[in-house]
């Protein structure tokens, strides 16, 4: 039975949809967690500690990574299949119908932007936090300063967003994410069959609003830290260090 997840188009789409929804859920938590950093460094670091190199966080990370990897592999696989299905000759003139969202036709491009960003993001945070812990646990050589900062997420945030370039890259990636989700959210529900004529527009709007909340949440955090660092305001976290 499970063969249909690879062998049938709707099965493959189901995999995209479930992984996509899972990633949305993850991002929603991630965004909420980030908001904590605005309020309290301690609170934020407590979460970081909770999500350090312990078994449940590792399982979580593994599942998350698997979700990403499956989503990405399927994304490329589906795209290759879909291009082949168009046939050898391309249309000379194409004109997008007005009801078709731009994002829906550029999901892979948006995904690739996010993928590039993901590398950067992992370098900025994960490589300095959970990875260091892991290396250390594996008996690797880690300098003590680095080890100390593995649970100091707050420090890494401040560090990363003091750079205007980083901030800009993050905002670009978040814009891509918004477009990806503005289509992805309702598309995922449509794929699992959760849609009908009455709910059609409603689901589209719920998707857009959800995407906007998630992306805005991230952007608020980033921009506040950037302004705080760049202009040396030092008002963050709002509830004091």
């Amino acid at each position: 039975m499970s063969l249909f997840l690879t062998q049938s188009s709707i099965g493959r789409k189901l995999v995209m949809s479930i992984t996509g929804l899972f990633l949305i859920l993850f991002l929603t938590f991630h965004m909420c967690m980030n908001l904590v950093a605005i309020l309290s460094a301690e609170g934020y670091n407590a979460i970081c500690e909770f999500l350090g190199a312990n078994w449940y966080a590792l399982v979580g990370t593994a599942v998350l990574a698997a979700g990403f990897i499956i989503h990405i592999i399927y994304a490329f696989w589906l795209t290759v299949q879909n291009r082949a299905a168009r046939g050898a000759d391309r249309y000379a003139v194409v004109d997008k119908p007005k009801d078709v969202e731009w994002a829906s036709q550029n999901m892979l491009a948006l995904g690739i932007i996010m993928l590039a960003f993901l590398g950067l993001h992992l370098y900025h945070f994960w490589s300095k936090m959970q990875l260091v812990d892991l290396i250390e646990m594996a008996g690797g050589d880690v300098c003590s300063q680095a080890l100390e900062n593995t649970t100091n997420g707050f420090y890494h945030i401040v560090n990363t967003f003091s750079s205007p370039i980083n901030t800009l890259l993050y905002i670009i990636a978040l814009a891509a994410l918004w477009f990806h989700l503005s289509h992805g959210f309702w598309s995922a529900l449509q794929t699992i069959g959760f849609n009908n004529t009455t709910w059609f527009d409603r689901i589209k709007w719920i998707g857009r609003i959800w995407a906007t909340i998630v992306v805005l949440g991230f952007i608020v955090t980033i921009v506040m830290f950037f302004l705080d660092g760049f202009f040396g305001l030092n008002i963050l976290p709002l509830l004091g260090a």
């Binding site: 039975m1 249909f4 062998q7 049938s8 188009s9 709707i10 099965g11 493959r12 789409k13 189901l14 589906l78 299949q81 879909n82 082949a84 299905a85 168009r86 046939g87 050898a88 000759d89 391309r90 249309y91 000379a92 003139v93 194409v94 004109d95 997008k96 119908p97 007005k98 009801d99 078709v100 969202e101 829906s104 036709q105 999901m107 289509h183 309702w186 598309s187 449509q190 794929t191 699992i192 069959g193 959760f194 849609n195 009908n196 004529t197 059609f200």
Partner: protein
């Protein structure tokens, strides 16, 4: 009121599926704006025949938007820019004097070109043969009023059933997906009590055939529904997904 316009046509000419195709340019003068797009092509073909050239091959039959035989990708849209019409219902009054009109065949791996603008849509028939029916023999059926069907359900089934099998959905789709077509038939029959009994089997068989024939994976871009001359709704695709997934999960 009728007036006439001059236009330039760029038409795809291709000997057969294996040959390489190319565009050819034709100028047409004094085309009445009351004539239909296909009548305009008739005029062009008459001219070509008069010049002892080979006429352009294109499919058509009813010329009133119901048989689904006409096709043509006109200026980037299957059945032209206007919504809810087939190519044969498109009239020249929708074009302006001096327009350049590019006419291409449906392009999709599952629809190989036969000649010029004529393509082979036999794949849609094969999908129907895989399960697009209710298995009932002639005779021995119950009285037509024996099973009442609410007007809403009957109307919804009817809306799905209006698909003319033209192939514009797959032609418009960047993924070459036939989901709108398949979902229309699956929906029509799944909605009606007569068709419910076989709904799971039907959804699985039709989707398997669709995949086998080389159509792409639907990513819900919705170009199909936007270009469908019969306004078949995307909610049918959701129903197909539902029917298919439920069927698979029960296996």
């Amino acid at each position: 009121m009728a007036k006439s316009i001059n236009i330039t046509l760029k038409v795809w000419r291709q000997k057969d599926a294996k040959s390489k195709g190319h565009f050819e340019t034709y100028h047409l003068e004094n085309i009445s704006t009351d004539s239909s797009f296909l009548e305009m092509l008739d005029i062009l073909n008459e001219k070509l025949v008069d010049e002892h050239k080979e006429p352009i091959a294109f499919d058509h039959d009813c010329r009133e938007g119901i048989c689904g035989m006409c096709s043509l990708y006109i200026n980037g849209h299957p059945h032209g820019y206007e919504s809810e019409v087939t190519t044969c219902q498109l009239h020249m009054r929708k074009f302006k004097d001096g327009d350049v009109i590019t006419v291409e065949p449906w392009r999709s791996r599952a629809f190989p070109v036969i000649r010029d603008l004529m393509v082979d849509r036999g794949a849609y028939d094969k999908i129907m043969q895989a399960g697009g029916y209710i298995s009932v023999n002639t005779g021995g059926t119950p009285d037509a009023n024996a099973i009442p069907i609410s007007k809403e359900i009957a109307d919804e089934a009817m809306d799905a059933a209006t698909c003319i099998g033209c192939g514009a959905c797959a032609a418009a789709c960047k993924n070459g997906s036939a989901m709108l077509f398949v979902s229309a038939k699956v929906s029509q029959l799944a909605l009606l009590p007569q068709g419910k009994l076989e709904a799971a089997r039907r959804a699985k068989a039709m989707v398997a055939k669709m995949d086998e024939l080389g159509f792409g994976n639907c990513t819900n871009t919705g170009a199909c529904a936007a270009e469908c001359p019969k306004s078949i709704s995307l909610s049918n695709i959701a129903r197909l997904n539902r029917e298919f997934l439920c069927a698979k999960l029960k296996d």
